[in-house]
C-alpha cells in the first residue's frame, strides 16, 4: 500500500530569491492530485522541493512516517517517490534500454517491501512505441518518445507516488492522448499521482483533487469539479 505525502508550510529559495511561500498540500494513497498554475507559478519548484532538488527548502515534508525535509534526493527516491522532470532529461548518450536500466534500483524490493511489478516487458506493454526503440540512443528519439521513456525510466524504480511535471507540454495531441491513457492506467494500478499541468482539460481528466498556485502561493485547494465550477477563480489564476 502506498504512503500519504504531506507538505506543510513549504518555503523554497533560489539563492536569496524565495520561490514558494507556505505551500501546503497532501496526496493520499492512490489519489491523483493536480497542481495547476501559469508559467513561473511554482509548480516545478514544488515538485523539485518535494524531491530534494532545490538549493534550500524549509517546512514540514513527510512521506508516510518519514520526515523527508532534510533528505537527499536519492534517499527520497528510494522511499518510493518517483520524479518525472519537465525537461525530460533523458540520458541522450544511453540507449533506451540503458536509460531504463539506470532507473532500476539496486534492490528488487523497494523500501516499503513491495515487490517490483515493472520489467522491460511490462513497460513496453504500457508504452508500445518504446519496444522497437530499445537499442536507439535516448537523444535520437522524438519528444513524445522521450516523454514516455522518462516516465518508464522512473517506473523502473517502482515508485508508489509519481511526481509528473507537465508531461503533456509540447507534445502533439495524439501523443497527449496516449500519455493520458497510460497515466490513467497507472492510477488504476494504485499509484498515487501528483501531476503539474497547465492544460486544464488534460489535468481534469486525470485528477481527483487540485491545487492552484500563483506566484509561489496556494490560491485554491479543492476537488477538480469545484475548480471547474469556479469560473472566476480559473480566470484569475489560470487564463492567460
Amino acid at each position: 500500500m502506498a504512503e500519504p505525502l504531506e507538505v506543510q508550510s513549504l518555503n523554497s529559495y533560489y539563492g536569496s530569491a524565495q520561490a514558494l511561500f507556505d505551500v501546503s498540500l497532501q496526496v493520499a494513497p492512490g489519489e491523483a492530485v493536480v497542481l495547476l498554475g501559469r508559467n513561473g507559478a511554482g509548480k516545478s519548484t514544488t515538485l523539485k522541493s518535494i524531491m530534494g532538488l532545490v538549493p534550500r527548502r524549509e517546512g514540514r515534508l513527510r512521506f508516510g512516517e518519514r520526515d523527508i525535509a532534510a533528505m537527499q534526493a536519492y534517499r527520497i527516491a528510494r522511499l518510493g517517490l518517483g520524479y518525472v522532470p519537465e525537461e525530460r532529461r533523458v540520458f541522450a548518450a544511453l540507449t533506451v534500454e540503458e536509460n531504463l536500466l539506470v532507473g532500476q534500483k539496486e534492490q528488487t524490493k523497494s523500501g516499503d517491501g513491495r515487490t517490483n511489478p515493472w520489467s522491460f516487458e511490462r513497460l513496453f506493454q504500457l508504452f508500445p512505441n518504446l519496444a522497437e526503440l530499445r537499442g536507439r540512443l535516448g537523444g535520437h528519439i522524438s519528444g513524445g518518445e522521450q516523454q514516455m521513456l522518462t516516465i518508464a525510466r522512473t517506473l523502473m524504480g517502482n515508485p508508489s507516488l509519481l511526481l509528473l511535471d507537465e508531461p503533456s507540454e509540447g507534445l502533439a495531441p495524439i501523443i497527449v492522448q496516449q500519455l493520458g491513457a497510460a497515466i490513467k492506467e497507472l492510477k488504476d494500478m494504485g499509484l498515487s499521482l501528483l501531476l503539474s499541468e497547465q492544460n486544464l482539460k488534460f489535468a481534469s481528466a486525470i485528477g481527483d483533487r487540485a491545487y492552484v498556485l500563483e506566484s509561489g502561493h496556494v490560491r485554491f485547494a479543492g476537488t477538480v469539479d469545484q475548480l471547474l465550477a469556479d469560473e472566476e477563480g480559473r480566470r484569475r489564476w489560470l487564463s492567460l
Binding site: 520524479y83 522532470p85 532529461r89 540520458f91 544511453l94 539506470v102
Partner: protein, 615 residues
C-alpha cells in the same frame, strides 16, 4: 624500413602508459567534473609502489604482474581516501577551489613520496621472461614493449566492457550527462563518485607501474606526465575513452618519429597536433557536442568590483608611502624581499585580471612572465640591448606571444581553456628547456644586470616599485574602464553580451594580451633583479603559485591578489628553509579550501553562520 617499424612499435608501447593515465583522468572528469591535478602524482606513486613490490615479489612472471596490479590497486585506495577526505567536501565549491585543492594534494603526496622513497631516481626492474629483446625486420625491440603494446588495447577492451555492458557503466555514463537526475532516480552519487575515483586513480597508477621497467621512477614524472595527459584528454575529447586511446596513439607515434626529425622539439610537435585538432574539432577527436553545454565552467564568482572607497584609497596611500620610505631603513635584505614580493604581486594581479573580471581560468600564466624574462635576457645577451630598451620590448614580446596563445585559447572555454593554457605554457617551457644552444637550457641565461645608472640597489628598488605599482594601478583602471565592463559582461553572460554587440571572444583575446604583457613586464624586471633567466620562471609551479596567490586573496576583490601574493611569497620565504615546505604548503592549501569552500571572501559569511548556530 625495419627501423621505422620498430620505431612505430616503440611508439605503440609508450602509448599504453599514456592511455592508462589519460583514461583515468577522463573518467574522473566526466563524472565529478573535477580536473584532478593530483592525477600525475598517482601515476608517479604507482611507479614507486610497483618498484617496491617488484623488488620483493618480482622474480617470477606471476609475482611481477601481480605486483603491478597490487601496486595499482593500493594507490587506488590512496585515491579513494583523498576522495573521501578532500574532494567529497568540495564538489559544490567553485572550480578554481577544486583545482587548487587537488594541486595541494599533489604537493602533499609529492613530498610524501620524497619522504618514503628518497630523492634518488629509481631504476626500473626487469620483467621476468620479457627482459630480452626480439628482432623485428633485423632490428631489436625490447620484449617488454610487446607486452605494453598488448596491454593498451586489453585495458581499452576491459573498460569498454565495464562502461557499455554493466549497469555500473551505464550509471557512470549517465552521471557524465546529468548527475542531478541520476540522484532523483535513487542512485547514490557519493558511492558512484568514490568508485569512479578509485578506478581512475588505479588506472593512473597502473600506467605508472606499467612503464616502470621502461622508464623507472623519479620525482618529476608526476608533473611531467600531467601536460601529456592533458593534451591526450583534450585531443581525444574530454570524457571519451576511445578518444583518449586514439589520441594517446597519435601523440606517442608523434614522439617516436618526431624525435628522429626534430629531437629538440618533441613537446612542440605534441602541441602543434593539439592546436590543429582543436581548431578543426573544438571538442576533441571523439568529444561529443551534446555534452558541451554542461561542460561550461560553473559560475565563476561573479564579482562586481565597486569603485575604490576611502578605505582603499588610504590603503594605497599608506602602502606607497611605506614602499617609498623602506630604503631609509637601511636593511638591504628587506629591499630584495620586497622587490620579489612586488613583482610576484604584479604577476598575480595580471592573472587576477583574467580570473576575476575575465572569468578565464588560466593554468599557464607564468608562461608570459617567463617570456618577459627571456625576452629581456635574450636581448641583453645577444643584442647587447640596454635595460631600458629590454624593459620596453619584453612586455611587447610577451604580449605578442599572448596574441598567438590567446588566438587558440579563447576559442575554448572553461576546463578546455584552462588545459590549453597549461599546454601552451608547457610548450614554451620545453622550448626554453630543450633549445640549449640559444637559451642555455636548464643552466639558464646569466649576466642580465641593470644598466649602470640603475645598478645601485636603492635605485633599482625604486624602479621596480614604480613600475610594479604602475602596472597594478593600470590593471585596476582597466577593470573600471569600458573594456573592463566588456570583459565582465562576457564573463557573466556570454549570450547577452553578444546580443549587445560585444565580440566576447575578441574582448577575451585582448584581455589575455593585456594581462600577458603586464606579466611580461614583471618577468623582465625579475630577470634584471636576479641577473638571470631560468626555465623555472615559466614552469607549472610558477603558474600555480600565482593561481594560489590569487585564490588566497580572493577573486572578488581587486586588493585580493595584492594580499594573497604578498602573503604567499612571504610564507614561501619563511617556509622554504624547511625540507618539506611544498608539502606543508599543500597541506595549508587543502585545509584552507576545506575550511572555507566558498573562498576567503566567504569567511565573513562562514563566521556569521557559526555565530547564528551558537546563538
Amino acid at each position: 624500413m625495419g627501423f621505422y617499424v620498430v620505431q612505430a612499435l616503440t611508439g605503440l608501447a609508450s602509448a599504453s602508459a599514456l592511455f592508462l593515465a589519460a583514461a583515468g583522468l577522463s573518467i574522473i572528469f566526466g563524472v565529478t567534473r573535477i580536473v584532478n591535478f593530483a592525477h600525475g602524482v598517482f601515476y608517479m606513486l604507482g611507479a614507486y609502489m610497483a618498484w617496491t613490490l617488484t623488488s620483493q615479489f618480482g622474480d617470477s612472471v606471476l609475482g611481477f604482474w601481480l605486483a603491478l596490479i597490487v601496486a595499482s590497486l593500493s594507490i587506488g585506495v590512496v585515491g579513494l581516501l583523498v576522495e573521501l577526505t578532500v574532494l567529497r567536501r568540495i564538489y559544490q565549491a567553485p572550480e578554481l577551489f577544486q583545482l587548487t585543492a587537488t594541486f595541494g594534494v599533489f604537493l602533499i603526496l609529492q613530498d610524501v613520496t620524497l619522504a618514503i622513497w628518497g630523492p634518488e631516481d629509481l631504476l626500473g626492474p626487469r620483467a621476468p621472461m620479457l627482459d630480452g629483446s626480439v628482432t623485428v625486420l633485423g632490428h631489436p625491440l625490447p620484449s617488454y614493449d610487446l607486452a605494453l603494446i598488448v596491454l593498451g588495447p586489453l585495458v581499452l577492451a576491459g573498460l569498454w566492457f565495464l562502461f557499455y555492458r554493466t549497469r555500473w557503466g551505464a550509471l557512470v555514463r549517465a552521471a557524465t550527462e546529468d548527475r542531478e537526475m541520476l540522484g532523483a532516480l535513487g542512485v547514490n552519487q557519493r558511492l558512484l563518485f568514490s568508485t569512479v575515483f578509485f578506478l581512475g586513480t588505479a588506472l593512473a597508477a597502473f600506467g605508472g607501474a606499467a612503464q616502470l621497467p621502461k622508464g623507472g621512477a623519479d620525482l618529476l614524472m608526476g608533473l611531467n606526465i600531467l601536460a601529456s595527459v592533458f593534451v591526450v584528454v583534450v585531443v581525444g575529447g574530454m570524457g571519451s575513452i576511445p578518444g583518449a586511446f586514439l589520441a594517446a596513439l597519435l601523440i606517442a607515434q608523434l614522439n617516436a618519429f618526431g624525435i628522429l626529425i626534430f629531437p629538440q622539439g618533441t613537446l612542440v610537435l605534441m602541441f602543434l597536433v593539439m592546436a590543429v585538432v582543436l581548431v578543426i574539432r573544438p571538442k576533441g577527436l571523439l568529444g561529443k557536442a551534446e555534452g558541451a553545454s554542461r561542460i561550461e565552467s560553473r559560475a565563476l564568482i561573479e564579482a562586481a568590483y565597486p569603485a575604490p572607497g576611502v578605505w582603499e584609497r588610504s590603503f594605497w596611500a599608506l602602502a606607497i608611502a611605506a614602499l617609498a620610505l623602506l630604503p631609509l631603513a637601511g636593511d638591504a635584505f628587506a629591499l630584495v624581499l620586497t622587490k620579489d614580493i612586488l613583482l610576484f604581486v604584479l604577476l598575480a594581479a595580471s592573472l587576477h585580471f583574467l580570473l576575476g573580471p575575465g572569468g578565464l581560468v588560466s593554468f599557464g600564466h607564468a608562461a608570459f612572465f617567463g617570456c618577459g624574462a627571456y625576452a629581456a635576457a635574450l636581448l641583453v645577451t645577444y643584442a647587447e640591448s640596454s635595460m631600458v630598451l629590454a624593459l620596453l620590448l619584453a612586455p611587447l614580446l610577451a604580449g605578442c606571444v599572448a596574441i598567438i596563445v590567446g588566438w587558440f585559447c579563447v576559442r575554448l572555454s572553461g576546463v578546455y581553456f584552462a588545459m590549453l593554457t597549461l599546454a601552451f605554457a608547457q610548450v614554451l617551457w620545453s622550448i626554453v628547456f630543450q633549445w640549449t644552444s640559444v637559451t642555455g637550457g636548464d643552466d639558464g641565461l646569466l649576466g642580465v644586470w641593470p644598466d649602470t645608472w640603475a645598478n645601485d640597489d636603492t635605485v633599482f628598488y625604486y624602479l621596480v616599485t614604480v613600475l610594479a605599482i604602475g602596472g597594478i594601478l593600470l590593471l585596476r583602471q582597466a577593470v573600471h574602464s569600458p573594456f573592463g565592463f566588456a570583459t565582465r559582461a562576457g564573463r557573466d553572460s556570454m549570450l547577452r553580451a553578444e546580443a549587445l554587440g560585444l565580440h566576447v571572444k575578441q574582448v577575451q583575446h585582448v584581455a589575455m594580451v593585456f594581462a600577458g604583457a603586464l606579466a611580461g613586464l614583471a618577468g623582465a624586471l625579475y630577470a634584471f633583479s636576479k641577473g638571470s633567466a631560468f626555465p623555472d620562471y615559466m614552469g607549472i609551479e610558477m603558474s600555480f603559485d600565482s593561481l594560489i596567490a590569487v585564490m588566497l586573496g580572493g577573486v572578488q576583490s581587486l586588493l585580493g591578489p595584492l594580499f594573497g601574493a604578498g602573503l604567499f611569497s612571504w610564507a614561501a620565504h619563511e617556509l622554504s628553509t624547511l625540507s618539506y615546505w611544498r608539502g606543508i604548503l599543500g597541506l595549508l592549501i587543502v585545509v584552507l579550501v576545506l575550511a572555507f569552500p566558498r573562498g576567503l571572501a566567504g569567511i565573513p559569511a562562514a563566521f556569521r553562520a557559526a555565530r547564528e548556530r551558537l546563538a
